[in-house]
Amino acid sequence: MIGADAMIKCLEAEGVKVVFGYPGVAICPFYNSILNSNIRTVLIRTEQNAAHAASGMARITGRPGVCAVTSGPGATNVITGIATAFADSIPLVCITGQVVSELIGSDVFQEADITGAVESFVKYSYLIKDVKDIPRVFKEAFHIANTGRKGPVLIDVPIDIQNAPLNNFAYPEEVNLRTYKPTVKGHAVQIKKVIQELQKAKRPIICAGGGVLLSEAEEELRTFVEKYRIPVVSTMMGIGVMPTKHPLYYGMVGNNGRPYANKAMNESDLLIMVGARVADRAVSQPGLITRNKVLVHIDVDPAEIGKNAGPTIPLVGDAKNIFQDFLKEEFSCDHDEWLDTLDEYRRDLEIHRNPNPDYVDPAAFITALSEKMQDDAIYVADVGQNQIWSCAYHVVKKGRFLTTGGMGTMGYSIPAAMGAKLAAPERQVIAVCGDGSFQMSMMELATMRQHNIPVKIIVLKNNYLGMVREYQHYTYQDHYSVVDLSGSPDLSMIAAAYGMRFQRLERMEHVDEAIDAFLEKDASVLMECVIDPMDLVK
């Protein structure tokens, strides 16, 4: 056995089914050994997307997604994908090949100091110097990636280590890290304090973030809020913690969120933030959410608590664990009046658009699409105006809504949808992007065809980088700079070139038939929706 065989054995021991990647000489021993395994390999068309695809897979399986790329440019290309996963706390294990150990530091062909370069975007990184360390490092990497606040871990393996003989392989049963013991269970005293506040509160609200989904606490959260009738809002990363139409769910907060969600949060007298960072897009004025109210902040990462807003009650722990503990308490509370007020706000403050009838209205289209999608479908939104419309108008039933809210990396949706589809082949997976973000990842149509990954793609086409155009509209009075996407390809020909079915929708007439045809078979389809180039999200 050589190091590369050991690496594969580690992945098998971790139950890894798919590795996304792109080979090069420095990772060839690994890709040679993987042929002796049942692990599926997917040749992605650019390394950044290997990390995005692994991210999509991780978010559906709840296990770290894995990608493996070569040294130098392979490794540096994957950084944006790693940084995206880091910002959204998605567990990844990224394996990079490295040049021969003794040549490290001499600037040889395709050498890059990748552990140094990714330091600010990983939870941890390893440069393996001894083949005997492989089992321990892999065990630790998977453990670190998927516990506490989840995130990417990078393992850099020089080619000579991959080729070095290893006599005994034993995958460790346990990890022993003296420096890493995340607090999962909430402190009993703090939990009691929160319950006391809930009993006192007249206007409580829970703001759920991506952390609730990462800890798979949706059911606990729902049971709890239904039992005590507590209203819920979410951040962008928290969309899907409750079905959109749930009577206790009042939408997404933030500068692109629902006005009534923000109003509800600001007027509450008890705000429980859970698994949310209180970041600028969700809470533009952190001062407001501490004013005249008790702020409870629940997070598995103690550094997030108090970073942007000083809470009254900090509660460190995993959301699932904490809501299980909350459910063990029995108390009474009455918020009917508050809920009536919120329902009024929801009625009165709904956003009304005036869509241009000459184009597809993205809001109405997305609502129609999501109503026709299967209950457990996975909707992957890209970045740009399409993301804001998706957040506002996609109706989550029992499915998932995936997007990158932290880093906002354009081109995320197609590779992430591919990862999600491989994780759940029986579910509908739909990527919704703009014509800008589509062109950042359209090379992956080849990957979809080659590996038979039937993802459905919607392109909201306006021939602009819409989100930036909208910003220039407001900030620079329509003084547009570098946002015109003229020169974009004819998408019908792109679809034909990749052997995909193609549909174009130019107006809202026949929208139902178009969506039915789009969703009909479990096959990849590219659907272009022509939207008003001057449309605004606000």
Binding site: T115, E119, L177, Y180, A303, G306
Partner: protein, 162 residues
Amino acid sequence: MNKRIYSVLVENRSGVLSKVAGLFSRRSYNIDSLAVGETDDASVSCMTIVSTGDERTLEQIEKQLNKKLDVIKVKTFEEHQSVSRELMLCKVKYNKNNRRDIMEICEIMKAEIVDMSKHYLMIQICSTPEKTRLLLTMLQSISIVEVARTGTLALLKCAENE
């Protein structure tokens, strides 16, 4: 702006210093001084970091340090809770007119002259950061050639352990 001392026990491995120092630059925290050395346990190093900032930043520094996987333990304290020392070597150019002044300064400040040549003197002081700074100020009126300082080393006062 408050001053805080962080006594950080870290895994004694390559790359750890850059990870910890990188954390400060990345999140734009100040480093007033940084001193690193092995402890009695060869697998553990102690980094003494002095930083200034508002209370929230100083608290974030502690939390972010604790998040680093190579950090074993973070102790934070104020200067007055600790015994702090700094070692400084300072080389000055002297002449017959100022030699006596230099020696007097050294005597008052309890600094030592540890090396000497025809035109140069090397002065050593091991004292509180405050006194070390004071000596440097005093020597600035004479011509300083070069200076090397360790940065602050600090441990909590013994009484704090009782």
